[in-house]
């Protein structure tokens, strides 16, 4: 019975997925009904996840660990999932016949990611990450419309498969070096052999799969095309929920090295600087807001890496904090995009013109989201950056922090361009009015309050992430 409790959130999402699988067999689709079902199930899923958030224990021959670290991420992912599902009421980007499949794949993907953050055995990890990846490979090309949207689906698949291949090779090397596939045992063995090239290469290649998901340079190439090519809701899902899983797994794998590998730290520093700089510089010239956010997500992957590469629990806690903040602020921006482009087209930055008149509330949510992404206080984004940088300086990486801050200043430019569009520009033509329902109003206030609360009162959530980071070891 206690084992059952440990696996409850996952079981619940399996159930949800099965239900939508059955719905997908029906001849006459009922999109509105599916949406109601999905909302109820996702809400219940969130409650179940929160209820089991203090569970601890091992499952499945010690392949599966339920601890504070995994449960915090599961709550974040359940939260992200319900937000995405709530915003899927219109779902104009996907053919109505496929709505049941859409919800099915969303539930499967969340399930896979929940399993991912709890897995502590390399093959289980691999299976989980593939399950989540394949759901996304199917979700991306589901978009209705032009042929070229398929192209991005294929691109995503090809790069994803390559990353998986690298990851498998890395896992085999780790097994060769450590003679085990269990992460807790690897943590004990690996620090003693970390100076061997095979160990470092294995670890880095194993990380490649997660770098792909988090869109860390040089595994970022899919991001702009997929963000642009997938329908808005799927992009939101990729940009929020799947990033949580990737961040969690990079933290878990970085923890394996035991914090004593200069070569790996150097590599992570290089990747982090490359991601931040590349992402921010290319984002400067984007016209499509989803492409812009794709490049900004590459940059944010770099910031999260700064926290992780300290390889101590303070840094992991900071990275977790940053990930949570990123979830909130990125969803704020995407929610506004989904609302403004409710017919499902790709929103250009200039189409946001005059948003402050069309919907002051959405404009405010967008502003808070953008300022959070840019790292301006008193938002959660700022406090996250502050904690990440503090952790890095605790290890003495002054130059890295300076580079990070210079990058934050560069990024401010393109966030201000979006802000300017919403608050300053006059629309060139008459845009249809933005319909703001009760749910969106509620979410706008909730996101703004959450962002500011986490930004100004970080103490409680920070001690939670610190406890979670300690449970890693």
């Amino acid at each position: 019975m206690t084992d059952f409790m440990l696996f409850l959130p996952e079981l619940f999402f399996i159930l949800g997925a099965l239900l939508f699988f059955i719905f997908s067999l029906r001849k006459t689709p009922n999109p509105a009904g599916y949406h109601r079902w999905a909302v109820v199930l996702a809400a219940a899923g969130l409650l179940v996840t929160v209820a089991s958030s203090h569970q601890e224990g091992m499952l499945f021959f010690n392949c599966y660990r339920v601890d504070l670290f995994s449960q915090v991420f599961k709550v974040l992912m359940a939260l992200g999932t319900i937000w995405v599902i709530f915003s899927s009421g219109e779902l104009k980007g996907i053919d109505t016949r496929q709505h049941a499949e859409y919800y099915f794949l969303i539930f499967v993907c969340t399930l896979a990611m929940m399993m991912l953050v709890s897995s502590v055995e390399l093959l289980t990890i691999y299976v989980s990450i593939e399950l989540s990846s394949y759901s996304l490979y199917l979700l991306v090309p589901m978009r209705r419309g032009e042929e070229r949207y398929f192209e991005c689906g294929i691109k995503y698949f090809m790069i994803g498969v390559t990353a998986s291949g690298l990851m498998l090779f890395g896992i085999s090397l780790l097994f060769g070096v450590g003679h085990t596939t269990y992460v807790p045992q690897l943590i004990k063995v690996l620090p003693t052999v970390i100076s061997q090239p095979a160990a470092i290469v294995g670890l880095v290649l194993a990380l490649a799969g997660f770098f792909f998901k988090l869109a860390v340079f040089p595994f970022h190439i899919w991001a702009p095309d997929v963000y642009q090519g997938a329908c808005n809701q799927v992009t939101t899902y990729i940009a929020t929920v799947s990033k949580m899983a990737a961040a969690a797994m990079i933290i878990r794998f970085a923890g394996i090295s035991g914090g004593a590998s200069p070569a790996m730290i150097k590599l992570l520093i290089v990747l982090s600087i490359a991601s931040m700089t590349f992402g921010n510089l290319v984002a400067l010239i984007q016209k499509d807001i989803k492409r812009l956010l794709a490049y900004s997500s590459i940059a944010h992957a770099g910031y999260i890496l700064i926290g992780i590469l300290t390889l101590n629990s303070q840094g992991y806690a900071a990275a977790m904090y940053y990930a949570a903040a990123y979830l909130i602020m990125n969803y704020s921006v995407f929610m506004v995009i989904m609302k403004v482009a409710d017919d499902g087209h790709n929103l250009q930055i200039k189409e946001l013109a005059g948003l402050h008149k069309r919907s002051p509330l959405l404009a405010m949510t967008l502003m808070l989201g953008l300022f959070g992404l840019a790292g301006i206080p008193p938002t959660a984004g700022f406090t996250g950056k502050f904690l990440v940088f503090a952790a890095a300086l605790g290890k003495g990486y002054l130059y890295l922090v300076i580079i990070g801050m210079v990058n934050a200043t560069i990024s401010l430019y393109y966030y201000l361009i979006v802000f300017k569009a919403a608050y300053l520009l006059k629309p060139v033509k008459e845009y249809p009015p933005v319909r703001v329902d009760f749910w969106t109003q509620f979410m706008s206030f909730a996101l703004v309050i959450m962002s500011i609360y986490l930004g100004v009162f970080p103490d409680r959530f920070l001690s939670l992430t610190e406890a979670a980071a300690r449970s890693l070891f």
Partner: protein, 491 residues
């Protein structure tokens, strides 16, 4: 310095809250009720003013040190404290902020375009400014510093004038690039101090190694120096001032630029005294170049706001030079100059703002002979110009006198050059006054009404401030000195 009396009533947080509550109330007023928004704004600004005046009155300068302390542990694991207090350095700054906010809100009474957002953003900005001045915790100083900067972008880009979008973007990016140095410096000091406190006074006791001090001070000086318009990082300042609407120019030039100099003094010179000694020649050099450069650049301008923008560069050079001397007189003068310049620039911008509102031009040759058609408005500007020159009986006279005597003693060459810079600045101020207000009367402006009694009030308040502290400099110098005398013993 460490004398702390725990006041029962958190007066400082209350002052901060006057702006934040004002902001929240404004957010929930429907945008079409502009009159109500303005009344709420003025009410909350005047509440802040009254509290600051009381604070100034209640501060015991004979005892000196940090008073009205509020200290609560905020984030345990990395040691952030909600730690506020006032001493002789930030007390004049608080007073300055409240006066400029009050007069600024009053000056904008005729605003009609997007009123609600304007006042909301202005209160956000001022909340940041109050926060920086009262905080004694590095985390909060940085937070409030950034909070005070980013509202500048919409404030200039929406309500601004000449090349507003360019000016706004340039200003915002420049100032936030400054914080790209400040945040690493703060975290560097925190990490070197053991990584368990951001409390300024606890860090001060640690005594950093000379290397740490030199590195951190340079970063802080560059970061805050951008906001203090230290030459060669001043280029955002005239452009931004020209683009900004009147009250924003007032707050920006009057108060926000002081944050830069204050940051150098409060964080840099407090935590890195040896770093300050090490870099003092650089500070003196850049300060002197600023004084002379501002005056020369001002000579060539034809736009009234550009003239004031460059005079600000010059006057902030005086503050920089005063800090560089690391002596009692120099720092006293620098702090006094921050106050005096703040009030004076606010008066400058508020009178130019009025002239611009009425004539829709601020090009000097077009204005000509304005004192005959708008005698009252002109007198405000001329009064500010006299204060800018540093005529005796004006507050800035004492400030400049103190700084220059200290500078001549500490850096004879720079000091004498700075004195010559003052003559240049007198020359360019008088030229501007002569060409704008005297000479041929321009018939275009004949029928334009002068300042109404209602709109004259804020300007008169600013004028009387300048005059009061010019006649009784002791009222302020006693307060400043009480902190500066123990402060300089560390160098």
């Amino acid at each position: 310095m460490t004398a702390m009396n725990m006041a029962g009533f958190p007066i400082l947080t209350t002052i901060l809250m006057t702006t934040i509550v004002g902001l929240l109330v404004i957010i929930f007023i429907p945008p079409e009720k502009t009159k109500l928004i303005k009344q709420v704004s003025l009410a909350s600004a005047s509440l802040g003013l009254v509290l600051c005046l009381w604070l100034y009155h209640a501060y015991d300068f004979q005892k000196g040190g940090l008073q009205f302390v509020e200290r609560v542990l905020w984030v345990k694991s990395i040691g952030i404290y909600w730690f506020n207090g006032v001493d002789g350095i930030n007390l004049p700054m608080m007073l300055l902020t409240s006066v400029v906010l009050f007069t600024g809100v009053w000056t904008m009474w005729e605003l009609e375009h997007r009123v609600k957002e304007f006042f909301a953003l202005m209160f956000l900005l001022v909340a940041g400014v109050y926060g920086v001045f009262m905080s004694m915790d590095l985390f909060w100083i940085f937070v409030w510093y950034d909070v005070s900067l980013f509202p500048m972008y919409p404030l200039i880009a929406i309500w601004g004038g000449t090349r507003k979008e360019y000016g706004a973007m340039k200003l915002t990016l420049y100032l936030l690039a400054g914080s790209a140095f400040i945040l690493p410096a703060i975290l560097f000091l925190w990490a070197k101090g053991g990584g368990h406190t951001f409390d300024l006074f606890m860090l001060q006791k640690i005594g950093f190694t000379p290397y740490v001090q030199n590195v951190a001070f340079l970063m802080l000086y560059l970061g805050f120096g951008i906001l203090a318009a230290v030459w060669p990082f001043h280029t955002w300042s005239p452009v931004g001032h020209v683009a900004a609407p009147t009250a924003v120019s007032m707050i920006h030039a009057g108060v926000l630029m002081k944050l830069g100099a204050y940051g150098v003094l409060r964080i840099g010179m407090t935590l890195c005294p040896q770093g300050a000694v090490y870099w003092s020649h650089l500070m003196a050099l850049l300060g002197t170049i600023g004084i002379i450069y501002g005056a020369i650049a001002g000579l060539g301008q034809t736009d009234l706001k550009y003239v004031i923008g460059y005079s600000s560069v010059s006057h902030m050079g005086i503050v920089g030079l005063g800090l560089a001397t690391l002596s009692v007189n120099g720092i006293n003068g620098a702090v006094f100059q921050m106050f005096a310049h703040g009030i004076m620039t606010a008066l400058f911008f508020s009178s130019v703002g009025f002239i611009y509102d009425r004539t829709h031009t601020k090009i000097i040759p077009e204005l000509g002979g304005l004192s005959k058609t708008m005698p009252v408005a002109s007198s405000f500007f001329i009064f500010a110009a006299l204060a800018g020159i540093g005529v005796p009986l004006m507050a800035s006279f004492w400030a400049e006198l103190l700084v220059l005597t200290a500078a001549v003693k500490a850096f004879p060459v720079a000091g004498i050059l700075a004195c010559m810079g003052m003559i240049l600045s007198a020359l360019f101020m008088l030229r501007v006054v002569q060409r704008t207000f005297y000479g041929e009367k321009n018939p275009r402006w004949e029928h334009i009404p002068d300042v109404s009694k209602f709109l004259a009030v804020p300007r008169v308040i600013l004028m009387s401030c300048i005059l009061f502290f010019g006649l009784f400099p002791k009222v302020m110098l006693d307060v400043i000195q009480s902190t500066v005398i123990p402060f300089v013993t560390r160098f």
